[in-house]
């Protein structure tokens, strides 16, 4: 279970102003909101990639910030993070990129054959052909393949929690749908808790158990997809309508342009 308590974060201006949110163990949770409302910032506070000015994050009842560097390392081992633009290491092959997802001391202990086997398995799970991609470097992969390698890196260490930061950004509709199906399948197969930050509202509503919406640095809505669609709050309604219109426009653009 991930618990966010009164999270505040400012850069030049306040981004998060007291967010309280809870993601239950094993559930798939989506976080929506207009651009710049701090969705990715909130996600990054989960594993200390950004430190909140105030407030705390707890994972299974243990504070991320109060236990010092060793506790933070433990937290990070439990969590797989899928970055918006994959964040693959440019100079490493797919094999080494994915292997980096294994804890350092595990990686040092593994034989080369075992390392390849673990990476192979992870690539297989994300529907990539290991034989074709293992020796390639990220610049030789397509956008969709990079996303899958990024997902393979996040799952190879068998995490308990998966954090997804806009995993479908920059993908065409076919790849978007494929990645969304993959997210849903992985969350079920690996029995992990998933927190998905996405601008693809329809996709998020389709695959998640619960959703929340951030607006102006605070949580505007939290509930099931059905409740979200029926929410009378005009801000939520306007967001849903705009998201639907943007999705329709994207589809027309992709079809005819």
């Amino acid at each position: 279970m991930i618990t966010y308590r009164d999270i505040h974060k400012s850069f030049d201006l306040p981004v998060l102003s007291g967010v309280d949110m809870m993601v239950e163990t094993g559930e798939m949770f989506a976080l929506f909101g207009p651009s710049g409302t701090g969705k990715s910032v909130l996600l990054k506070t989960t594993i200390g990639l950004m430190i909140p000015d105030r407030g705390d994050v707890e994972i299974d009842g243990l504070s991320v910030y109060e236990g010092g560097p060793s506790a933070l390392l433990e937290v990070r081992r439990k969590v797989g993070y899928v970055f918006q633009h994959s964040a693959l290491f440019d100079s490493l092959t797919v094999l080494d990129n994915v292997a980096m997802g294994l804890p350092e001391e595990v990686l040092q202990r593994l034989s080369t054959i075992e390392k390849v086997r673990r990476v192979w398995e992870a690539l297989d799970i994300v529907n990539l052909e290991p034989k074709e991609v293992l020796a390639k470097i990220p610049s030789e992969l397509s956008g969709g393949m990079k996303k899958r390698v990024g997902i393979a890196r996040a799952i190879v260490g068998r995490p308990e929690i998966l954090l997804w930061d806009e995993p479908t950004t920059g993908l065409d509709p076919v790849n978007t749908a494929a990645v969304e199906r993959l997210i849903k399948r992985l969350s079920k197969e690996l029995e992990v808790t998933s927190l998905l930050v996405t601008h693809d509202v329809e996709g998020g509503l389709d695959i998640c158990d619960r959703v929340a919406m951030l607006d102006g640095g605070t949580l505007r809505f939290c509930g099931t997809p059905v409740e979200f669609r029926a929410c009378p709050d005009p801000v939520v309604q306007a967001f849903v309508d705009r998201a639907a219109a943007e999705a329709a426009l994207d589809m027309v653009t992709d079809t005819y342009v």
Partner: protein, 265 residues
Amino acid sequence: MTLPLPAPIVRWLAAVGRVARITAEHAGELGLLSWRIMVAIAQLKVSRHDISTQLYIMGVQSLPIVFVTASLAGIVTSQQGGYQLISSSPQYILGTLVVQSVILELAPLLTAIVLVGRIGARITAELGTMVVSEQIDAFESLGRDPVAILAAPRLIAGVITMPLLVGFADVIGIVAGMIAANIDVGMGTETFIYGARLFWHSWDLVYGLSKSVVFGFAIPLIAVHMGLRTRGGAEGVGLTTTQAVMFMILTILILDAMFPPLLLQ
């Protein structure tokens, strides 16, 4: 009742305060980064393979440009020295002038400035790109220490390669100066060497190499620090790289000016 300060003075004070704050911020961050690098080295977290790679990039790949720079520095010093001294001083003084200039100042300073352009800018741009593409965040999310992986090997390689490159530049600069003296003013090798040995102090070599160690520490440290501070996209990387080059050159010149009162008394 106190009178308000005139607006230009308020603006000036605000600018001084801003510069002081930024300077203190950089100094604090550089101190912290140095400490984290030392801890990573002490805990043997730095990969030998990464150090070798950086030694090759900083050392071996820099040899051609250091060769050209040192040769030209030796040649120009010899030519200008010959022009100014030949009618008024004994010929052998030119040997003294070239050797002292190259060892004390030209080789360490010019090699450092070449490395700022070749290595410092590269490190800042590389790390800056890794920041904006979230690769540094990825290292941290995977429980890896980016300082041990990226900063420490570069700093170790800088401290090792810089004195070696400066030693190489010393030899090349002196030989080039000797050849130029022979061609330009017809000075024989014996006369040049006589002049060089007449005022030779071994300490001068230690002095030049000591400077190079400090420069070899400062260049990668500032480059890494600035790279990790990068914000924004491609524009941010460009801006930070430019700032880093200015910062490194200024630091090299200030450090260079601090050496004579410390070590040449």
